[in-house]
């Protein structure tokens, strides 16, 4: 137990490098992850604005495109089709992996796991540091790949072979693709080290009294997410390595009967579908690797700011575990129309729609939590509520896509783009924003400016629905995703007017994010200093002093006496009772 550790005195010297760069401290590593993720998010978002401009006004000369992409990729301001695909690909890769996987788990698992379970630090500080620096190197390689002559990977973020395996098929499948694979390999190594650390820490370093059923839901979600990551990322690693072999060593795991650039290839006997299976065996749990931490943060923010216990704590834990388990047996719903056996389609439809049950339970529990609450609508709370809205909207359209018969006609259309951006893109980003606004005082001892937070929320909330809601109509009209322009088809002419609307909302949302970035960095320096528990919350991180000291608590570690959700408990004057307050005589522990 961590309680047995002696507190380290501040005697050992911390140099600039050991404190800010190669730090072992979970709080510093969390900040490093967050700031790296913010930078990556600016790249990812910027790319989306560039290709949205092309989709709204295809083929028009736009100086801004030439400014960012240069004469090679946007001669006279007209976007090159290869660059369009490259932007789409790297946008997806960056947001899915670097922002919402590395950024989200990296920041909040690191910050909150030791704090909320009452530990001095992660189980292995060194591995934690290694995990961040591998993440950093892989981020640098991914960004670097955008600046090479043949352009970055352009086969879509799923990089299906043979397209991604054959440099003859498109310029992006050359060096750019190799760099993508190298970057992803490092990323996976980083993610695995992080996840192992989270699991070990949660299991071994809980403070006295912190039983599994007294863990905050955030920790439950991070814990389950880490398990998902450890079980599924190695499969992507193998998929990536085999692809690397096919590209560089002449193997043919994914190649068969291919005739490209006027030549029949020697390589035969493989199957591109094998890659799809391996990819989506990670790819679907990945959705929940992104979503569960966001749901965890949202659970905590909602219950704290509702001044009311989370409704159905145990049901929430069970539904998270159920979602995690089911996420491993649904990957085939990405492959209904790949030529996979139709019988498998039936199986995957069944398992996929089952996921809607625990998801529905979660939503109803959130609604029951805010019912008759006393809602403190802080910016974090608004983002959390926004996330619940997005989770509902995007989750419901998932019922269409998970149904194999319906998927036939909306597969790979804008319906899909609208669906997953709402539920896991914007949904997880909202969870992340809620987390940043809520735990900023924990990270920096200061508050972010609430008025700017509100402005940021409204622009983003309106922007997100403005961008992704109309996409469902494009999808139902049969407009495919990843098209450089829709203007080559007479049947898409009439509905093209939706694209400028989407793009205007996208630009608006993008501008709105700079308010957040400004607020974030400005508040680090000049934010209002606050006490150690500004939100009057129960969890242990708010019992630590405002100063972020090495070892988190001066003196002994706090001892836990109750579950984390004693808000507005009858018999108490205040509307919150922190976890380290002993139970009164005759008082039952919460739930």
């Amino acid at each position: 137990m961590a309680g047995g550790h002696e507190h380290h005195k501040h005697e050992h010297h911390e140099t600039f490098i050991s404190k800010y760069i190669f730090s072992f401290d979970h709080k510093m590593i969390a900040k490093q992850y967050l700031i790296t993720a913010i930078i990556m998010a600016v790249f990812g978002m910027g790319m989306s604005v560039l290709f949205r401009l092309q989709l709204a006004w295809p083929g028009e000369k736009m100086a801004i495109l030439n400014f960012f992409l240069g004469d090679k990729w946007a001669p006279e301001g007209v976007l090159d089709p290869n660059m369009y695909l490259a932007l789409v690909t790297i946008h997806g890769t960056i947001i899915v992996f670097f922002v919402l996987t590395g950024g989200l788990s990296g920041t909040f698992s690191n910050l909150l796991i030791p704090y909320q379970i009452g530990a001095r630090d992660m189980a292995s500080g060194f591995m934690n540091m290694l995990s961040y620096w591998l993440f950093f190197i892989s981020s640098v390689i991914m960004i670097y790949s955008c600046f090479i002559e043949s352009g970055p990977a352009s086969g879509g973020w799923t990089v299906y072979p043979p397209l991604s395996a054959l440099p003859q098929a498109m310029p992006g499948s050359g060096l750019g693709m190799t760099l993508w694979l190298v970057s992803m390999t490092l990323f996976i190594a980083s993610s695995l080290m992080g996840s192992l650390n989270y699991i070990v820490t949660v299991i071994n370093l809980r403070t006295k009294g912190m039983t599994m059923t007294r863990l905050p839901l955030t920790i439950w979600c991070f814990f389950i997410t880490a398990i998902l990551g450890v079980l599924s990322f190695p499969v992507l690693l193998s998929a990536a390595l085999l692809l690397l072999f096919d590209r560089s060593l002449g193997t043919s795991f994914y190649l068969d009967s291919i005739f490209v650039a006027g030549q029949p290839l020697e390589a035969t006997g493989g199957s591109p579908i094998l890659y799809e299976h391996l990819f989506w065996f990670l790819g679907h749990p990945e959705v929940y690797i992104i979503l569960l931490p966001a749901l965890g943060l949202v659970s905590e923010v909602i219950t704290t700011n509702s001044r009311k216990p989370i409704f159905g704590y145990r049901a929430m834990i069970v539904s998270v575990i159920a979602i995690a388990f089911l996420s491993f047996i649904v990957w085939g719903h990405h492959m209904f129309i790949t030529g996979m056996s139709p019988f498998l389609g039936t199986v995957f439809t069944f398992t996929t729609l089952l996921i809607a049950i625990p998801s529905a339970v979660k939503v109803f529990n959130y609604l029951a939590t805010i019912w008759k609450g006393n809602l403190r609508l802080t910016p974090a709370m608004l983002f959390a509520l926004g996330m619940v809205s997005l989770f509902i909207s995007g989750g419901l359209t998932g019922i269409v896509l998970g149904d194999s018969a319906l998927d036939i006609n909306v597969h790979d259309t804008y319906f899909v783009v609208g669906h997953f951006h709402i539920v896991m893109g914007a949904g997880a980003i909202f969870g992340m924003f809620a987390g940043v606004y809520h735990w900023f005082p924990r990270m920096y001892g200061k508050l972010m400016i609430s008025k700017l937070g509100y402005l940021h929320f409204w622009i983003t909330f309106i922007g997100v629905y403005g961008v992704f809601y109309p996409m469902h109509f494009l999808g139902l009209a049969g407009v495919p995703r990843r098209y450089y322009t829709n203007m080559e088809f007479e049947m898409f002419q009439d509905i093209q007017f939706i694209n400028p609307i989407i793009t205007v909302f996208a630009i608006l949302s993008a501008i709105g994010q700079f308010i957040f970035i400004f607020n974030f960095f400005y508040s680090i320096i000049k934010g209002r200093v606050t006490n150690n528990n500004p939100w009057k919350a129960n969890t242990l991180e708010w019992t630590a002093p405002v100063e972020r000291i090495h070892g988190n608590w001066p003196g002994a570690l706090p001892v836990v006496h109750r579950w984390p959700y004693d808000y507005s408990k009858p018999g108490y004057e205040e509307d919150f009772v922190p976890q380290n307050v002993p139970l009164k005589e005759d008082e039952l522990d919460g739930h």
């Binding site: 199957s271 509702s306 006393n374 609508l377 006609n409």
Partner: protein, 395 residues
């Protein structure tokens, strides 16, 4: 456009500046223990959420009605009608849940916003309610799942009819080539070893010999080239990539030569399978005909990368995968001309049946299409009769 962006950015900067000024003034009066948000901010947010909810609902309803005319007209295939019905059922359920849960969400936020002195209702759990909202969604979903799975099984395991049209689409960057089965109503064996002048690689005796000749010629050229490049490299030429590429090509063509030799040997022992392709009809056009009311068995193959054959009006889609033949079966219900009227009667616009690629496949992915005309059976038959058999076309 640039003006609009500039204007927005300016507005945002002004807003930030104003807020900062106010913040600095207020901060002077606040200590570390004062509330992070003000009651006014909370009240404004609650009202904001309610207004957002109302406007959001209104816009969803308005767009659903006014943008309906841009969506696909109702299905033009038999199985597609089942999909449309399933879609409608699903959408109705989804919309009910969407409106209900969102109405609760926005209303609760508005109704229960923070008032100091008030205490929230202590209500940590209620097993009966939780059981109810686990079982009810489970029940609805099981119904929906069974409905969906039955529909899917019916579509994917159709009873194949004798008079079906057997039609193959071969995809390559960025063209669709079609091949119809001939009088025997089956497609002949085809292999990637024969692609070249032979667009879809039909393996007939002559085609194999011809391709072998072609392959040997290529090998000869490549052997010469690589010898020359080797000499140049030995003399310090720095473009070794050319030599490597030539060697790779040589390996590819030599493998193809072996492959063709094996096929020709097999032909000698078992000539029957190489016969079926002779009467196939390869159509090199961006527009084809299919008959109304007859089952169409689509056979899908790919030359280079994965593509996807998407025929939205028929509610049909299937990927084309190199090294694999995939299949999709559908029956057209309306001719192209009839479809104009069907669409018009729904207030929608129809611009002709079309097949297009729906799996990212390279730079011109956005322009890889094939027009499809559905006509009466007689028209189709006489059109097909005019098309040359493979053996005649490939000499």
């Amino acid at each position: 456009m640039e003006l609009l962006i500039l204007f927005t950015v300016l507005l945002v900067i002004i807003a930030i500046a104003k807020i900062l000024k106010a913040k600095e003034l207020i901060d002077k009066f606040k200590d570390a223990d004062s509330d992070p948000v003000t009651p006014a901010e909370i009240k404004t947010s609650a009202t904001g959420m309610l207004i957002f909810g109302i406007v959001f609902f209104a816009l969803v309803v308005v767009t659903m009605f006014s943008w309906n005319k841009y969506l696909l007209p109702s299905s033009s295939s038999e199985h597609g009608l089942e999909i449309d019905l399933l879609m409608k059922t699903t959408l109705v359920i989804i919309l009910i849940v969407f409106f209900l849960t969102h109405a609760l969400l926005f209303w609760f936020v508005f109704k229960y916003y923070f008032r100091s002195g008030k205490k929230a209702f202590w209500y940590p759990h209620n097993n009966r309610i939780e059981l109810a909202w686990t079982i009810i969604p489970a029940f609805v979903l099981i119904l929906l799942i069974s409905y969906g799975m039955t529909t899917w099984s019916n579509i994917m395991n159709p009873v194949k009819k004798k008079d079906a049209v057997v039609l193959e689409f071969l995809s390559e960057q960025f063209v669709w080539t079609s091949r119809y089965a001939g009088k025997d109503n089956q497609l002949g064996y085809a292999s990637f070893a024969l692609y070249g002048k032979n667009k879809v690689g039909v393996a007939t005796p002559y085609a194999m010999e011809d391709r072998l000749k072609e392959t040997r010629e290529s090998i000869e050229v490549l052997v010469k080239d690589s010898a020359e490049f080797e000499k140049l490299v030995a003399n310090g030429w720095n473009r070794t990539k050319n030599l490597d590429d030539t060697k790779t090509s040589l390996k590819n063509f030599r493998a193809n030569e072996r492959r063709l030799n094996a096929m020709i040997a097999e032909y000698k022992s078992n000539p029957a399978i190489f016969k079926a392709g002779e009467d196939d009809k390869v159509i090199n056009s961006d527009s084809i005909l299919i008959p109304k009311g007859r089952q169409v068995i689509l056979k899908l193959r790919s030359k280079d990368v994965i593509h996807s054959a998407y025929l939205p009006h028929f509610r049909a889609q299937m990927n084309t995968v190199p090294g694999l033949t995939t299949e999709f079966v559908f029956t057209p219900k309306y001719t192209s001309e009839e479809m104009y009227e069907v669409a018009a009667s729904e207030g929608k616009k129809f611009t002709g049946y079309i097949l297009y690629c729906n799996k990212i496949c390279g730079a011109s992915h956005y322009n890889m299409k094939l027009k499809i005309n559905v006509v009466e059976d007689e028209v189709y038959k006489s059109w097909l009769a005019q098309q040359q058999d493979f053996v005649e076309a490939y000499k």
